[in-house]
Amino acid sequence: MSTLSDPPKGTFRLSMLLNDSRYRSMTLQVIAATSLAFAILYLYSNLAANLRAAGLNISFLFLGSPAGYDINQTLIDYTSQSSNLRAAMVGILNTLLVAIMACITATVIGVIAGVLRLSNNWLVRKLMSFYVEIFRNIPVLIWIIIIFTIMTSVMPSPRDYRGETPKASMFLDSAAFTNRGVYVPKPVFQNGFSQNGGEEALADGGRKSRGLAKFAESGALDWIAVIAVLLASWQVTKRVNASAIKKQQETGVRPTTLYTNLAIWILPVVVLLFLLGLTWEYPALKGFNFSGGIKIGGPLIALWIALSVYTGAFIAENVRAGIQAVSKGQTEAAAALGLRSGRVMSLVVLPQALRVIIPPLISQFLNITKNSSLAIAVGYADITATLGGITLNQTGRAIECVLLLMLFYLVISLLISAVMNVYNNSMKLKER
């Protein structure tokens, strides 16, 4: 007996392509594929025709030619004779710099504001919701412009610091806030690697060590040493804490680790800094402007502060939602155990809330990175302003520049979400 569900053979009609569920998805996909192919072909032929008409071609050789413009804030060596690729690198580093700085401060601001929004204090609660609503509902571009305007038109000019009775004075005699930027003291290592190692490597001669010498001279080795010592201290304190917990579990009494830990953190670093001969180079008024110290340009500060407070408002909402997602029983149980409210928050509520907070936090970090492209509005030389701005305008290579720009942001976005997903997985509730 033949089953009823057997399809009748040999009766294929054209309408079955659309009406028969066996063929329909195939038909639709073929339609989609052909229309996509036609669309791409159409766009490509337009592109080719337009390029031919304009006498252009697609080529990335312009990256090697000299950029021909100056950048006021650079993390690596750069002159106007450097290549466009070097300018793009400067831009990339600047983007990463402001994005990382803003991510850190936005998280701090957001967590504080989010916790305070749930405070028992009526006034503080209201102030925080005022902050959140104000910053969430006004475009970040306006905030960047507002803070940039404060930086350029409200701050005193370097001229105000001169004379017998200056209109402005330096903060603690070490930092100057001017309309050209903020000058802060710069740490200098008197007998660090930059002084000794650099000369030794130069004495060696040879091409290979010259790069090393340059690297040593930049002071990077000193900082690597400091970071290595800090990492070592961190590992040692972890051991100390582990042994303290072990002792607590054995005897019920937790030995005081605070002083040991503080000593482990502070002493080695202080000794190292002393050995390296740390001194501070203070900014000083010379001529019409300050010199010495580290100059942080106004655009960078404007972008940094604006991105931090703007995104901080969003993070505050995420933090609040995360804390409210922790059931009230947890707080009450912690209180019943006799924990004080601060410890309830840090030991019981926040660790649980973190699981809810982290996924939206990731997207806020992504938003900061993408919003940092607004640097172009205040003249901070990030990748959008160098590659997508001046280089594009000077070389006229619109398609190449914009494609590279999009590629960079795409890679950064994918990287951040990949890293954060790994972290998210490690934080996830471990179930069966």
């Binding site: 996909q29 989609a32 592109l47 337009n50 306006i142 412009i145 997508g388 914009v402």
Partner: protein, 432 residues
């Protein structure tokens, strides 16, 4: 009663004491302040700190606002009136009011047209937002895009009329074929509309009068807050259907469609809006036919629309994923086909879940319309930073102008988010 114990007790109270009000420390404002402002010592310090901050802010801004000058020709005159006292110079808002709203090129005699379009918009949008209003108002909503186009751009009336005819033809074709299958109706509708538009492409130039009833205004003359509103409304209303389609495509069982949608969404979400606007301003024209120039406004609308559509798609996908699987299975077991199941069962529920997310995207999109000032379109920010602050009359009036920009964005964005909260309560069908 007093004679029951005539000798044993000296005095017996026969009436109850009238209830006295609780002590001031346990009721009223004092109690409230003790609970909410000064519960603990740190809390009290926090309160005092907050009061101080509020005082600092208000003491500097309030005199500035209330002392404001509303009537002056330029900044110098304004300063003369103020005579060194702190005060805002709101005269700039009065004098540059049309520029802030309509840009600096829109013909001054035609300002009534965008205003009228705005009023019609309020009527058109009302039945969409509040479904208690009579459904007949939806006719205004349907006609609004065509009327608004004619009012704002002017020119021959036949363009919007034929555009409307095309949509009507498409609808007629759709309702004719949809009884057979949704796909047939869909493609039939598109075909009908396209046929009418192609025919009208040759008719309209013949019908166009020499002297149109409304003077034609080119897109590059649009500006000010009107531009932000136009971009916001157009892009939101276009990107919601596109976003839903992308979300459905991403959920599709057809691998090709699914991957097209995934790649598109992730590509768009990975790059900042600025780079897409660069694409619109310098790159997109290479992809159109050589002899055709597409208006910058349309190019920007395309880019912003696909940008927010990608985000809306993710929100809707979240809504689709949040539905219990039983809903899909129930729809299948009722014998509904894909389009019926989506239209009748799945999407109404999924969209209800995604309302807060969609509104967030819409608010973000409206705020992001300020970014067009970076590609030298004169929206409200572009007007403020460009023609107004650059003019000799008002060079240096930052805070009044930026404050105004903050205010207009805050009012719109805050009301949208309040509306979304109301809508959520309104649509809540689960009884809790």
């Amino acid at each position: 009663m007093s004679d029951t114990h005539p000798h044993t007790v000296a005095f017996v109270r026969e009436t109850s004491i009238p209830q006295s009000s609780p002590p001031t420390s346990a009721a009223g404002p004092v109690k409230w302040m003790r609970d909410n402002l000064f519960a603990t010592i740190p809390n009290g310090i926090l309160t005092l700190l907050a009061i101080y901050v509020v005082y600092l802010v208000l003491s500097s801004t309030l005199p500035w606002i209330f002392n404001g000058v509303w009537d002056a020709k330029n900044l110098a005159e304004c300063r003369e009136i103020l005579q060194g006292t702190s005060g805002a110079c709101f005269a700039v808002l009065v004098e540059r009011w049309p520029q802030l709203l309509f840009g600096f090129k829109y013909p001054a005699t035609e300002y009534w047209r965008p205003v009228l379009a705005f009023v019609i918009m309020l009527v058109a949008i009302a039945p969409v937002l509040f479904f208690d209003l009579p459904r007949k108002l939806l006719i205004v909503t349907i006609l609004f895009p065509f009327v608004a186009y004619w009012l704002i751009w002017g020119g021959t009336i036949w363009i919007p009329i034929f555009a409307l005819l095309g949509f009507m033809a498409g609808y007629v074709a759709y309702s004719r074929f949809v009884t057979k299958s949704f796909a047939l109706g869909f493609f039939g509708g598109i075909g009908g509309a396209v046929v009418v538009w192609i025919i009208s492409g040759s008719i309209v130039p013949m019908l166009a009068p020499e002297q149109p009833y409304l003077e034609a205004v080119p897109s590059r003359d649009l500006g000010g807050y009107m531009l932000n509103m136009m971009l916001g409304i157009t892009c939101v209303s276009l990107s919601i259907p596109l976003g839903i389609a992308l979300a459905l495509g991403r959920q599709s069982s057809m691998p090709l469609i699914k991957w097209i949608c995934v790649v598109f969404i992730e590509l768009i979400r990975g790059v900042p809006l600025i780079t897409l606007l660069f694409v619109a301003s310098v790159m997109l024209s290479y992809f159109f036919p050589p002899e055709q120039t597409v208006d910058l406004f349309i190019r920007v609308v395309i880019m912003i629309t696909i940008f927010s559509a990608a985000y809306i798609a993710e929100v809707v996908r979240g809504g689709l994923a949040a539905l219990p699987k039983g809903q899909y299975e129930a729809a299948d077991s009722l014998g509904l086909d894909y389009s019926q199941a989506m239209r009748l069962i799945i999407l109404p529920q999924a969209l209800k879940i995604s309302i807060p997310g969609i509104v967030n995207i819409a608010v973000g999109l409206f705020k992001d319309t300020t970014l067009v000032s970076v590609i030298s379109m004169f929206d409200i920010i572009g007007m403020i930073r460009g023609p107004i602050l650059a003019s000799t009359d008002w060079n240096g009036v930052y805070w009044e102008l930026l404050g105004f920009a903050c205010l207009v964005f805050f009012v719109v964005c805050y009301s949208i988010s309040q509306y979304s909260q109301w809508l959520e309560r309104r649509l809540a069908t689960d009884h809790r």
